[in-house]
């Protein structure tokens, strides 16, 4: 199973990377902290690590380390707007329970 971006998310990522002036893609990950067990990590990627799994979605490279991948299989990243706030949202089939903040989850 892959990790994918929606078209809108890919467009925004490409745009952010262009404005930032550097970066080869997007790194998704999972950190074992947070109020509900795990937390998502969303960062610019400047280099590919040897262990990284690479995906490509609408022309944007997505890098995931193997430890995180077990929690992220099948995840789709979307870009959304809620009032003045806009940003990325994880849609993860492994997620069983999440904290209201949207950043932490349980599997």
């Amino acid at each position: 199973m892959a990790v994918t971006l929606t078209e809108s998310a890919a467009k925004h990522v490409a745009d952010f990377i262009a404005r930032r002036g550097k970066g080869i893609g997007l790194r998704l990950g999972v950190k074992t902290t947070g109020c509900s067990g795990m937390a998502y990590k969303l960062e610019f990627a400047d280099a590919v690590q040897p262990e990284d799994r690479l995906f490509e979605s609408h022309g944007v490279k997505v890098l995931v380390d193997p430890k995180s991948l077990v929690y992220l299989e099948g995840t789709e990243l979307d870009y959304a707007r809620e009032g003045l706030n806009e940003g990325f949202r994880f849609s993860n089939p492994n997620e069983k329970d999440r904290c209201g903040c949207g950043e932490s989850f349980h599997v």
Binding site: R20, L26, G29, L42, E86, F88, G100, C101
Partner: protein
């Protein structure tokens, strides 16, 4: 649920611990808030998509009635309770504002208050700090809604020429609005950061800022990652609004309108503004003038005509720009880059004039309305700790004018020289001037001039409880400390006893309305005068000291002299006193020398007497030990 943003590699934060920081351009006409979101800085808009918040607050009996566009719309019907351009009053006393207005009618009912004036509104007397805080609170709410969390802090920009009182007032306003101020930075510095000049080659940059109602020119030098303000200049009553007014007056003349007042004048100004904006893109357009009979006259106006009408205004800015270069002792060719700030720099004639003056293309990639806020946001993001390893630059700012204190004779003793990078702390030792002096008045001043009277007074405080000692025996260490925001605190400590006094320069606010640029220029122009004045004061202080000492000696040991000798010394004292009242420091010096010479014999006799007194009744052994 908060939506996520992309962090720098390795800089992801734990949930609920996002380091949200914004940059705020608190402008005279408009204010903006910006933030770095997913790696790039952008201005945050309101629900209607508007980036600019007019710096206007309207009050009603219950308090804040409206801020921004809604308040600006009411300025006409309720001028007394609608505060516009409050930035002009920040850190200012009523006298300063009256002086700046030069006799022109002031728009509000002001209340004089110690330090800073107040504005009488239906909601009570408001200080400029409170009004600014009401503007900042709206920006803060917009930012928190947009970023989906509480702000950890903000970088707020101020004009380069703002003095300590105005900076402190700005910081107070932010605090009042519930914002932690990470740093105050200069507006031109923020603009330069937005263009990434802080990572560019070292060199001199000019920042030309033509806003709605103000014009500022700043010459910055970037060296070792520090922006040093070399000179500033401008006109606090010149901006895009004046270009509109010139065009509106022309239209009124062309249409043979009689008296243009009230609603008609406002209508013409709006039409003028729109025509001006169209002329940025188009070579010609129509200016719609409403006539008394309800018809509308469409006047054809070309860009060339508009440029001719407003040429005197543009010229003023160029004169100020050249002066700023001169003040910095630079030529236009020394400037490595020209940054444009303010919506009025969109006018093609402004760009063309700067292209000619500096013989290079001005930097125009960024929106000139937003560039200051964007730079502040980048700095805020950095200070909040969201930037990754390889580019951990730290921008430093410098002190625009030297900080020092008053010494005897009204002379300035510089403790921290101008252009010192901040934060900085410097200590200097002082001593007492008179025997038995138990207190010392410390007068903190800012400026480059040698006489305190020509500098800006920032604060006064007293160190008390110095034990009585002979003049010159006390050791008083005065420490000046300037934090990263350029705010000063001063402490004084008498070393032998440890008595201490200190003051945070919460300045008296009511400072003379001088500009740094003018003060600096004066200090250069008047260097020779200052040298003379300093020499004179030094001699006068010495004269005063020696006269007091001689009189005291005559009173104590006058019996050592015969009446003739005594008369001669008294005459020398009188002559020195007369010279000291004049302004010839060489004459005073000569009279001091004469008096010293004339009292030589007297001093020798006194010495004999005191030695005898000490030795009287003591054995040789005692003296030997």
């Amino acid at each position: 649920m908060a939506l996520l943003q992309i962090a720098e590699p390795g800089m992801s934060t734990a949930p609920h611990e996002h380091r949200l920081a914004v940059g705020i351009d608190l402008g005279t006409t408009n204010s903006l808030v910006a933030a770095v979101v997913s790696g790039s800085a952008r201005v945050l808009v309101d629900h209607q998509g508007r980036p600019l918040l007019p710096s206007v607050v309207r009050y009603d009996a219950r308090g804040v009635n409206a801020v921004g566009d809604a308040a600006a719309a009411q300025a006409v019907v309720d001028p007394a309770n609608t505060i516009v351009s409050v930035k002009r009053f920040m850190g200012r006393g009523l006298d300063d504002v009256r002086k700046a207005a030069g006799g022109a009618a002031l728009p509000y009912e002001f209340v004089d208050a110690p330090g800073m004036l107040r504005i009488r509104t239906r909601a009570g007397d408001k200080s400029p700090v409170e009004v600014s805080a009401d503007i900042l609170a709206v920006l803060r709410a917009r930012a928190e809604e947009t970023l989906g969390g509480q702000l950890m802090g903000a970088v707020v920009t101020v004009p380069a020429y703002f003095d300590d009182a105005q900076r402190q007032a700005t910081k107070d306003a932010a605090r009042l609005a519930g914002l932690e101020v990470l740093r105050l930075i200069n507006e031109p510095t923020a603009a330069a950061i937005a263009y990434g000049l802080d990572n560019a080659a070292e060199g001199v940059y000019a920042v030309y800022d033509l806003g709605g109602g103000t014009f500022d020119i700043s010459i910055l030098r970037l060296s070792k990652g520090v922006f040093e303000v070399m000179s500033t200049g401008g006109d606090s009553a010149l901006g895009g609004d004046d270009f509109d007014a010139a065009l509106a007056e022309w239209a009124a003349r062309e249409a043979r309108l009689g008296g243009v007042h009230g609603a008609l004048r406002r209508r013409l100004l709006v039409e003028a503004r729109q025509a001006k904006e169209r002329l940025t893109e188009l070579e010609s357009t129509f200016f719609n003038v409403p006539l008394a009979d309800g018809q509308v006259l469409a006047l054809h106006v070309t860009r060339k005509m508009f440029e001719a009408l407003t040429e005197p205004l543009l010229k003023k800015t160029l004169v100020a720009t050249r002066k700023a270069l001169r003040d910095a002792a630079l030529a236009a060719a020394d400037v490595k880059g020209v940054v444009l700030v303010g919506g009025s720099t969109r006018m093609p004639q402004v760009r063309q004039a700067l292209r000619l003056l500096f013989a290079r293309e001005p930097l125009t990639d960024l929106n000139p309305d937003e560039v200051v806020a964007l730079g502040a946001a980048m700095q805020a993001n950095l200070l909040a700790g969201n930037r990754g390893g390889d580019d951990d630059w730290l921008l430093l700012d410098v002190i625009p004018l030297s900080l020092g204190l008053e010494t005897m004779g009204g002379l300035t003793e510089r403790v921290i020289p101008r252009n010192s990078t901040i934060p900085v702390a410097r200590a200097q030792e002082f001593t007492t001037f008179r025997d038995g002096q138990t207190a010392m008045a410390i007068h903190v001043v800012q400026g480059e001039r040698d006489l305190v009277a020509d500098c800006r007074s920032l604060a006064r405080f007293e160190l008390r409880g110095i034990p009585p000692m002979v003049a010159g025996a006390a050791r008083i260490v005065v420490t000046f400390q300037v934090d990263a925001d350029g705010l000063l605190s001063v402490s004084a400590e008498e070393k032998t006893t440890g008595v201490k006094a200190q003051i945070a320069v919460k300045p008296s606010y009511g400072l003379a309305d001088d500009e740094v640029a003018r003060m600096l220029a004066e200090s250069f122009e008047r260097a020779a005068d200052d040298l003379k004045a300093r020499a004179l004061r030094e001699q006068q202080v010495e004269a005063e000291q020696i006269i007091a000492a001689t009189r005291a000696a005559l009173a104590a040991d006058g019996d050592l002299l015969d009446p003739g000798e005594r008369g001669a010394i008294a005459a020398l004292v009188e002559r020195l006193a007369a010279c000291a009242a004049g302004d010839d420091h060489l004459a005073i010096k000569a009279a001091i020398a004469d008096l010293n010479h004339g009292t030589g014999e007297f001093a020798a006799r006194r010495m004999d007497r005191s030695v005898k007194a000490v030795l009287a009744g003591r054995t040789l052994d005692e003296i030997g030990t």
